[in-house]
Amino acid sequence: MIALLALAAQALACGALVRALLGADRCVGLAAQRVAITFGLWAGVTSGASVLALRMHQARTVTGFVAALVVCALAWAATRTRRSSCAGDVDAGHVVSTQTVPVWLRTLASVCVTLAFVSCLLYTLGRPHGSWDAWCMWSAKASLLHGPDRTWQQFVVDLGTYEHPPYPFLVPGFLAQWMDALGVRSTSGPIFLALGFVLASGMALGGTLRNLRGSRAAWFGLLMLAGVHQFPQKAADLAADVPLAFYLLGTVTLLQLGIERGRSGPLLLAGACLGCATWTKNEGMLALVCFLLCAVLCSGASRRSASARRIALLLAGALPFLGLTLLLKIEVPALTDLVDAAVNQGSLVHLTEFERYQPVLRKVGKEIFELGNGLVLLLILLAWCRQPTLVPRKDTAGRWLPAALLSILFGYSVVYVTTPLNQDYHLITSCVRLLVHLVPASVFLLVFAIAEREHTAPA
């Protein structure tokens, strides 16, 4: 019961922080985005508290309550700062929908979104333990944090017996708290997390598009995401891929919101999402590097100071979760192929083996074309023909965010070329899920780019 209260306290505290940083506007889009980001932040905070509790030899419920208090204090500080800042820096600027959404679009999107969610539910219920990765690693590792007699030393030793020992712990950490709260061994935790991240992805995508571009763009974005059938399928694997996809989407949507409105709160939350991405999978570390690198490279000479401020806010938001990731990487001594110098030397040799590039290009290109059985590409084409002129941007975000996503894709491709694993096996088993990481954020940027902005509410 107390563990359940700790979980609830952390959720409320995260909600308060997100409300303080995003604004308390009643706009439907912003409300949906608030709920989605609160869910993501809650998963990150609870899992962080799980791991820190073990590291600091404290009870997990106590650490959970302390984490909730810390987040509440941050929310209070953010609210005070916003109140003392300039009046124009609050809540104004959301899009007021003046266009009617075509009935065909609303109907089609509603049907597709419903079908996608139902298919996700059916996939999950049909395979409640998830895929190999889920039961072998993500769900199984939660047990390492569970139990009253656990110590950090035991945890580190036992982690060494699992596949990929220093993988980040967002999913297992959350599941450990879930097991505490329920008091029983159950598959409900991974299923709750998977369905939660699917819903949160839809809310963050639709909410932000509605907020920044209007209802038509929101429905169109949801239709495109629902059309990618690989997304609910991968969610039902109960692994960490859809959570990572959500955090990348959260980063992109919050950055876009913060830059458009010139506000710091969304940028801090974008940093928190990026931090959670590093705390979810190793690919999140690549994403962090790509976002920071592209922020530097895409900033024009006249906008260096604005770019530096954004990077600072992004890093400030990411810092707590980045710290957790580094704690695990440093204290778990087992080496992986990512940090093993001997393996890395062998990997670099692969860069000059040009016959390794062709299968990667072929597979990645094929999977991109087949996302959503190609229907999504058709929709993009239709949208492009309908709105041939891109809305001009005032800011470098127009280049920064797509560049960051493309560089992540490039990074994945380089890993395929250099990896010491069997390349064909590696491509077959992971290419689709790596692309799924990028799908929601890419859909957002595409629709954002081609959608015409509707009326804006006065400040």
Binding site: R127, P128, H129, W132, W135, C136, S139, A140, A142, S143, H146, G147, D149, D158, T161, M179, R185
Partner: protein, 100 residues
């Protein structure tokens, strides 16, 4: 996958209070689903099935959980390796204790 996990259910409520258990099996691989032909799959499956009980891939410990083809194979393996069968689930899953 589901039926395999369910084989361990009768064992879970009767396990003695120990910090960890070893594991022994007569099968290098499993054929219940995709990827389970990978070496070590029985141990990984069993580790997931008994969570949050700590299971280590070590047959030298005093308390060992065994996963065998059937009950007869489990008893034969226990006798051959110097174990007593403490709990027999009747489906090849057993709890073994090393003879003093």
């Amino acid at each position: 996958m589901g039926p395999y996990i369910a084989r361990f259910e009768p064992l879970l409520s009767r396990l003695p209070a120990q910090s960890k258990f070893g594991f022994v099996s007569d099968q290098a691989t499993r054929s219940e689903g995709p990827h389970l032909e990978i070496a070590g799959a029985p141990y990984m499956l069993a580790r997931y099935a008994v969570r949050p009980v700590r299971l280590v891939d070590d047959a030298q410990l005093t308390w060992v959980i065994g996963d065998f083809e059937n009950a007869a194979a489990a008893h034969a393996a226990a006798a051959g390796r110097g174990f007593d069968v403490v709990i027999d689930c009747g489906n090849g899953v057993v709890l073994l204790r090393r003879k003093p």
